[in-house]
């Protein structure tokens, strides 16, 4: 059965689920080594995006703005772009400047991309700096779309369109915005278990993984280098995690001839299995014992936990890349999904194991959860108001997560990630079970004997 995708005609979005596309693009750029993202727009967009990322990652976020005003918007902002590039190149000395446009500059319809060559040619300061441009109007899509557009732009700018001799032990991982730095580390570990080394694009695990460098750096700390980009054509295969990366995967394949596969986020037993199968095929090596054991642990986690998921009703809201695996995880443990909300409409939504998916906001989540008397809300930190009003517990996942620490290390992929998340949610259900009994008979704790 396919889920019906509903797109209600609301004029007011209430309690938005979506973050903006330029924010997504900037975040992708932060996964590049020594990069300075630059918003082409008015300064406020940059400030909001920066503050939100700071609150989520708890790291300094080096983003800049072309500082457009009303007049420069109308007259055209290329001189602002030029001035910003030169200023950044001289001050922060990045290896790469990643530009994303905003609603303001896109409304006027400015095409920055083609002009970059000219700007680079006439400013010697820019000679050694890579510059890339992604068109990300705020009025189209959200974070994961902006991220994907930036990844495509990076590939088009820095991956040579030529076939390289294949290195059988190297693969390329295209990472969706839904992956945390911790997830990327886990994927790399799993890949290495098959004797493969992975180049990850973009790689937040080196830049926003929360470490303490030894010196001050005004750009991103780590991430994919331009040198890495030039080697992508030598990979034995490209694995793209998240359907939002279908287009960048296609572009990469067209340029390099490296065969690509688009997989779901490997969260959940089946999705994690799909990853392992892919790696076995690419490497031609058997599944290492360590991973076999881990799989068995997931099976055990499912056995131990299914009691608490069965019959539960869950309201879920996220971007599609994250929505699908989580929906499958809940449904696969016997929970029902009467309320599923997505930020945008994509073909993959039909595969969500629910009667319907609404393209909407957190008001839709809240009203739906109240009506269906859900047991659990699952969304990012902005779900906290709905949770408080409804008295329904909130399980946080996705971006932003501004009221919890350690977000960058949360691993939800692979067998280990799946195992831990399955237990974590089960414990939430267990906790509310305790509360219910507490309310009924006043014997709090009788079900919480340490086991």
């Amino acid at each position: 059965m396919n889920a019906a995708v509903l797109t209600p005609r609301k004029a007011a979005s209430v309690n938005p689920l979506k973050s903006s596309a330029p924010l997504g693009a900037a975040m992708a750029y932060l996964g590049m080594a020594e990069c300075q993202p630059l918003f082409h727009g008015s300064q406020g967009c940059t400030a909001f995006a920066m503050v939100l990322m700071v609150r989520h990652f708890r790291e300094a976020i080096p983003v800049q703005t072309t500082a457009m005003n009303e007049i420069s918007t109308i007259l055209g902002g290329m001189d602002h772009v030029e001035q910003a590039l030169v200023t950044i190149a001289t001050r922060a000395k990045p290896k790469l400047i990643g530009i994303c446009s905003t609603g303001l500059t896109e409304t006027r319809g400015e095409d920055v991309g083609p002009e970059l060559k000219i700007l680079k040619a006439r400013n010697p300061e820019l000679a050694d700096v890579g510059v890339v441009f992604a068109a990300t109007p705020d009025y189209a899509g959200g974070l994961q779309e902006g991220w994907a557009i930036a990844v495509t732009a990076l590939i088009e700018a820095f991956v040579p369109a030529e076939k390289l001799p294949t290195d059988r032990d190297q693969i390329t991982i295209l990472a969706s915005s839904a992956l945390t730095p911790g997830d990327i580390d886990e994927l790399r570990d799993i890949t290495e278990a098959f004797g493969l080394s992975a180049i990850v694009l973009p790689d937040l695990s080196g830049s926003l993984d929360g470490h303490v460098p030894d010196a001050y750096q005004g750009t991103s700390y780590g991430g994919t280098t331009l040198e890495d980009m030039r080697r992508l054509g030598a990979s034995a295969a490209t694995l793209a995690f998240g359907a939002s990366l279908r287009r960048p995967a296609e572009v990469l394949e067209a340029r390099t001839g490296v065969p690509s596969r688009v997989l779901d986020l490997p969260l959940g037993l089946e999705a994690a299995d799909a990853l392992i199968v892919a790696l076995t095929e690419i490497s031609g090596r058997p599944v290492p014992n360590r991973l076999r054991r881990q799989r068995s642990q997931v099976v055990d986690a499912l056995l131990d936990s299914h009691f608490y998921y069965g019959g539960k009703s869950v309201a879920l809201a996220a971007e599609p890349d994250l929505l699908l695996p989580w929906a499958r995880l809940f449904a696969g443990l016997g929970a029902e999904l009467p309320v599923v909300i997505s930020t945008v409409n994509t073909p993959e939504l039909a595969a969500v194991p629910a009667a319907s998916v609404t393209v909407g906001d957190l008001e839709d989540l809240e009203h739906g959860a109240a009506e269906a008397r859900c047991d659990l809300l699952v969304t990012h930190a902005h779900g906290r108001q709905a949770s408080a009003r409804l008295g329904i517990p909130l399980y946080r996942m996705g971006f932003p997560m501004f009221d919890r620490v350690g977000n960058q290390h949360r691993v939800s992929v692979g067998y280990r990630g799946t195992r831990d998340r399955v237990f974590e949610v089960a414990n939430l259900f267990l906790e509310s079970l305790d509360h219910e009994h507490e309310g009924e008979d006043g014997h709090a704790g009788s079900h919480t004997a340490p086991g």
Binding site: A12, S13, V14, N15, L38, C45, F48, T73, T87, Y216
Partner: protein, 464 residues
């Protein structure tokens, strides 16, 4: 229309920044200053307007624009409410490509209707942003029609981001209140007292009003309206019947104070509730002005008595911390009036302020700061570039930095104690209680045993 407003705001005669400017600089206004492409920081005018108005807790704040303006920013501040929570919800027209092509006015009108039907607010504030401003959506007209047809005040806040800085947005928000809200209703004549005041530029961050109200209650002074901290729409409409205005937070809303004086003869004074001396001075000024407005003269003695008692009580509570803070070095990196209002508080602790940043500070602010720093000009600095800030902290030139979230990680990565004293802070630092809280937090931060752990090198990095 907006152009006239901007000119008006830039010419604010009571604004100390403006007074200090040359004629040529004045012409430029405060919009363009400091906005260098590639080296600009800070929020837009819309951001500033929202900061200033969002603390009106019972209205719906509707942002007309694409997702960037509200989707990335809603529920991101800590202004508190003693009741309604509607202000914390994020409302936006979330403009799509089609809306941009066809114009967003219709969608805005529908959005206003939906919100009123669903949430029944006493008023709706509609914020204009860059994209609809550029395509020419007439937000004022839509609001006017909506007010007429729906019978609820729908108020246009015309401060699209690209007209300027956050500070300008604060002022435009003030103009909005003057044009559409303040003075639009009359209180019961029996309910007007000479001890009624407004607090202008107070946003009840992390519930700070809770640290001030008990003091005022005891003196019989009533807040008619916080402008806009913990404000109800109705209170704002009638706040022109207050006797005295107190203007907080430097120049941000000076236009409101001055125009309320002009229109309704309400005297105002500038003050701050940060620091012991400042709090006491504010209470004294407040009492004196209330008496001047007809309050019983014993208010002054009662205020003096309260100040004496509270100061003593405050010191008693601070002393145990002060011993642990004495001589510790502080890098103060804020700006505006905090440049000095916090310095005096730190000196009261016996702490040494090694530098204070006078960004966004007026000449008056700077003079006050310089005075407090005993004429040491070197201690007053403009912006400190992050690498330099990192070096100072890494090399131990300060034991703690007090600043805003923006520079938090420069301090933390330099393994130095840090305390947030800007808008994202988690604790309330107003009045005498707030001072005790601030001192306690500084003590906890600077004396936390964690610093020894995080500064120690890994065992394999120690040379034998």
């Amino acid at each position: 229309m907006l152009k006239d407003k901007l000119a008006d705001v830039f010419n604010e005669p009571d604004c100390a920044t403006n007074q200090a400017k040359s004629a040529a600089d004045k012409k430029k206004g405060c919009a363009i200053k400091g906005l260098q492409p590639g080296a600009a920081a800070g929020g837009c005018a819309f951001d500033g307007a929202k900061i200033a108005l969002q603390p009106v807790v019972d209205v719906a704040h509707l942002v007309h624009g694409p997702i960037a303006c509200e989707g990335n920013a809603w529920d991101n501040r800590h202004s508190g409410s003693s009741g309604p929570q509607l202000y914390r919800m994020g409302f936006t027209t979330d403009l799509t490509e089609l809306d941009v092509i066809h114009g967003g006015e219709k969608k805005l009108w529908k959005a206003i209707k939906e919100i009123i039907a669903k949430y029944d607010p006493p008023a709706v504030f509609v914020y204009q942003t860059c994209v609809p401003a550029l395509i020419g959506d007439d937000v004022k007209k839509v609001c006017m029609v909506a007010t007429e047809k729906l019978g609820i005040p729908v108020i246009p806040v015309d401060a699209p981001g690209f007209v300027g800085s956050k500070n300008l947005g604060n002022k435009l928000a003030g103009e909005t209140l003057l044009d559409y809200v303040i003075g639009t209703a009359e209180p019961d004549p029996d309910d007007i007292r000479p001890t009624d005041i407004n607090l202008i530029g107070e946003y009840n961050l992390v519930g700070e009003l809770g640290q001030i109200i008990p003091l005022l209650d005891e003196l019989g002074i009533r807040i008619r309206a916080g402008i806009t901290g913990d404000a109800r729409y109705r209170d704002l409409t009638m706040c022109h019947r207050a006797s005295v205005n107190m203007l907080l937070c430097g120049q941000a809303m000076i236009n409101v104070a001055r125009k309320m004086q002009e229109r309704w003869g309400i005297p105002y004074f500038e003050g701050s509730f940060y620091g012991i001396e400042d709090t006491s001075a504010a209470l004294r000024n407040m009492a004196a002005l209330c008496v001047q407005q007809g309050a019983a003269p014993d208010l002054i003695e009662r205020t003096d008595a309260l100040i004496a008692r509270e100061e003593a009580r405050c010191w008693d509570r601070i002393r145990p911390h002060a011993d642990r803070l004495k001589g510790r070095k502080v890098l103060l990196y804020t700006g505006g009036h905090k440049t000095w209002s916090v310095v005096s508080a730190l000196h009261e602790m016996g702490m040494e302020v090694v530098r204070t940043s006078v960004r966004k500070a007026t000449e008056t602010d700077k003079a006050k700061a310089l005075d407090l720093m005993e004429g040491n000009e070197d201690a007053l600095v403009q912006a400190i570039p992050n690498p330099e800030m990192y070096r100072m902290l890494r090399e131990g030139e300060a034991d703690i930095m007090l600043s805003g979230g923006r520079t938090q990680f420069v301090a933390l990565k330099a393994r130095t104690a840090w305390l947030d004293i800007n808008q994202e802070r988690l604790y309330a630092y107003a009045g005498y209680d707030g001072m005790v809280e601030l001192v306690k937090r500084m003590d906890l931060a600077v004396n936390n045993p964690v610093w020894a752990q995080v500064r120690a090198p890994a065992p394999w990095e120690v040379s034998p």
